[in-house]
Every structure is written in C-alpha cells, then in structure tokens.
C-alpha cells in the first residue's frame, strides 16, 4: 500500500476497512446527502411526496428535472442523489411492478417492491468492479395494508417510515420529527412535507421548482402547477 491507508481501502467497493467499513458505500451516501432533498409523509389515506428541484439556470425547463416518478398505479418513487443512477432504479421499479402483475395478477405490495429494489442496490456493494448506486429512494404507495413509505439507501437497506427525507442534511428529519402527527389528512401532510423542505433552503419555495405527488387508493397523482401554487401559498 502506498501509505494512505484510507485510499487503499476505498479502492474497491468489496474491500472492508480494518474497522469494518465500506468506504465506497459511505461515499455513495455522501452523494445522496449532497443531492436535493425529497420528503415523504404518510397520512390516513395515503402518502405525500415532495421535492424541490432548483434549476442550475433559468433557461433549464423545470419539468425536465424529475425527482418524483410514477412507478405503477399505486406506487410512486422519489429520488435523491445522482440523477442518472436514480433513473435506472426507477425503471427497475416499474419493470418489477409489472412483472408482479404478470406473475400473480395483483399489484405489488409496497414492502415487496422496496425490498426487491434494495436487493438490486445491495448487489452493487458486493460485486467486484461495480460502483454502488449514488442515489437513495423513497418508495411510497398504498396497498392492501394501507399507506406505506420505504427508504432504500445506497447500502441496499430498506426501512419503513411514517415520514422521512433523503438528500440534504438532517434538518429535514428534525423538522418532521417535531411536526409529524399520526392523524394528518392529506393537505396537512403536504404542509408538513413543504415545511421540511422550507427548513432546508434559504430561498422562498417556488411552485415552479417544487414537485408534489400524492398516492392514495385512487392512484398516483402529480400535482399541477396551480395545485402546487395553492399548496405553497397555504
């Protein structure tokens, strides 16, 4: 080794450091932290997803910055971190959800979908020559057990939450821990999600840059610009 101990252990994702860490996976998590945050909040009838996709330039088309994605009728995914990596996972989620319908004739449970994505992510942390996904996901949906919200992080760990955020620093989760209540309705859940995003940015929220989506038993619905204006104003 060339004397830089950490450099030696972070050469390959499959190499543990002497204290049991996988530096490449930690760097992937760091890539997520540096990404723009996305928030998920469950409520009595479903889940709300919100993202703030600030543009690099006013010339950029705001609709082309995709942070929230419909996956199936009953599931949406929010992504933070490397956009290119995230898109691969979103497509995998869509294919997996359809494969479930082909195989069983039923919509896929949110937990099963999140675990399937986590399996794919985990594989990259144990495969020689692979690079971990530099993206984290929030998998939000409604199935026969009701609303469900899962986080899948770059290590490939699925975790269920009542409300959480990926991307950005810890201020969002701090806000959610303070503001989240068990008996939220959908509009209160939107307010809670936007409140968390507000905590993470200096600038005022702009409906143009915001993405908000709701998932209920009626399906996945991306809010229109007018609906987002109402949500920010309230």
């Amino acid at each position: 080794m060339d004397g830089h101990e950490q450099t030696a252990y972070d050469r390959g994702v499959t190499v543990f450091s002497p204290d049991g860490r996988l530096y490449q996976v930690e760097y992937a998590r760091e890539a997520v932290t540096r990404g723009q945050p996305v928030v998920g909040v469950t409520h009595g009838d479903g889940v709300v997803l919100a993202a703030n996709g600030a543009r690099r330039s006013p010339l950029q088309e705001p609709d082309s910055i995709e942070k929230l994605h419909a996956v199936d009728d009953h599931v949406g995914v929010a992504t933070a971190g490397h956009v290119a990596d995230a898109r691969r996972l979103v497509d995998q989620a869509r294919v997996t959800a359809q494969r479930e319908r082909l195989r069983y004739g039923e919509p896929m449970a949110v937990e099963a979908l999140a675990k399937s994505l986590a399996d794919a992510v985990q594989e990259t942390t144990q495969t020689g020559g692979a690079r971990p996904f530099g993206a984290a996901l929030l998998v939000a949906g409604v199935d026969e057990n009701g609303p469900a919200l899962y986080e899948v992080d770059p290590s490939g760990t699925p975790t269920a939450w009542r409300a959480t955020a990926v991307g950005g620093d810890g201020t969002l989760i701090d806000h959610l821990e303070t503001e989240y209540a068990d008996e939220l309705d959908e509009s209160a859940a939107v307010d809670t999600a936007l409140g968390a995003i507000r905590e993470s940015t200096e600038a005022d929220l702009s409906a143009v840059n915001l993405d908000i989506a709701t998932v209920t038993a009626d399906g996945y619905d991306a809010l229109s610009l007018d609906e987002r204006r109402d949500a920010v104003g309230s």
Binding site: R103, Y104, G105, E106, A109, E111, A112, K115
Partner: protein, 212 residues
Amino acid sequence: MARQSHGPDAGEKNQIAKTGTTTVGLTATDGVVLAADRRASLGGRFVANKDVSKIEQVHPTAAMTISGSVGDAQAVLRQLRAEASLYETRRGRPLSMDALARVTGDTLRGRPVTPVLGGVDDDGAHVYDLDGGGGVMEDAYASTGSGMQLAYGVLERQYDPDASVSEAVAVAANAVAAASERDTASGNGVLVARVTADGVATATYDDPAEVA
C-alpha cells in the same frame, strides 16, 4: 390419472396417456370440497394402482386435484408448493387464490395435466378449472378427467351454492361415485379434501357411499 407405462406391453399410445380419473371441486359457504377417485390406469385399460392420492395440498388453505400424466402432475405439485411457500416466507402472507391459480396455469402450460384447484382466501372460497394449455377458469364447481361428463351430470342436479362444506361433501362423493360406475378409468373408492380457512383435511373412503 394415467401413468406412463414401462412394462413389456407398453404400446406407443400408452406412453403419454391423457385421460383417466374423475376429480371434482365445489365451492361451499365456508370453504371448498375436492374429491377424486383412487384409480391409476395405463391407457384407461389396466388398473396400475388402486390407492392413488389425486388430491394434494399446495398452500396453507388450498389443494389441487390431478388428472393426466402422473409424472407431470407430481412435478407441477412440487413446484407449486415451493412457489407458495417461498411467497409466504418472503411476503409474510400467503398467496391469494387468484394469484395461486395464475401461477398454477403458468406452471401447467404445455403439460398434459388437467387439475381442479380449490382454496380459501380473504375473499372466500374459490374453485378453478385448469388445463394443460395454461387456461384458468374460475367457477362455482368444476370437474376434470375421463369421468367428468358423468360427474357434471350429478353436479348440475345436486350442487347447492348455499351448502356448507359438510353438506357439499356428499354431493362431491356422489359425482365421483356416478363416474366410477361407468368410467373404466375411475374407481377404487374416493379421496375427499375439506378445505377451509383452518387448512386442508383429507380422508379416504373405499366406498363413496361411506362419505357423509
């Protein structure tokens, strides 16, 4: 149910036999009744076995009758049990009946087996008529095998949608009994499975008249 013959008289037509057997399935108010005769035959002309189990549990609350090639049927049963068990272990809940029927149909495609699948889930009791082309047809009652026309004659007259499992058992046994009288590939008593939310209970009877 017929078996591939390995004996010296095994003619070519006996190599892949597709008929033989009478199996029935009926939905009841609190579950499903499946029944089948116990004869295995070669080409429908020789009794190869007089105590064959043609109903097997494939899921905590579902069972399947088999008719057609024994080897294919056993392979399908083994695969279904594995699929159902793996699904339940991974997902923490059993396969629904519609999902199980779909998986069964996909597993059957291309195999000379015509089962009746019956089981109970959150939506209640379900019976499916399946075929080797992968067809899956849900019905209140169904019959497969060489004795099916005789069995259907009884089912059309005696099936009662308001009957409980304990009442429907007699109808299922009557259907198999009628087929056993006139179909040379069916007979040697009856195997009955009572499928409820509590599970699958099977019982064999040397004479269908003993069933009650």
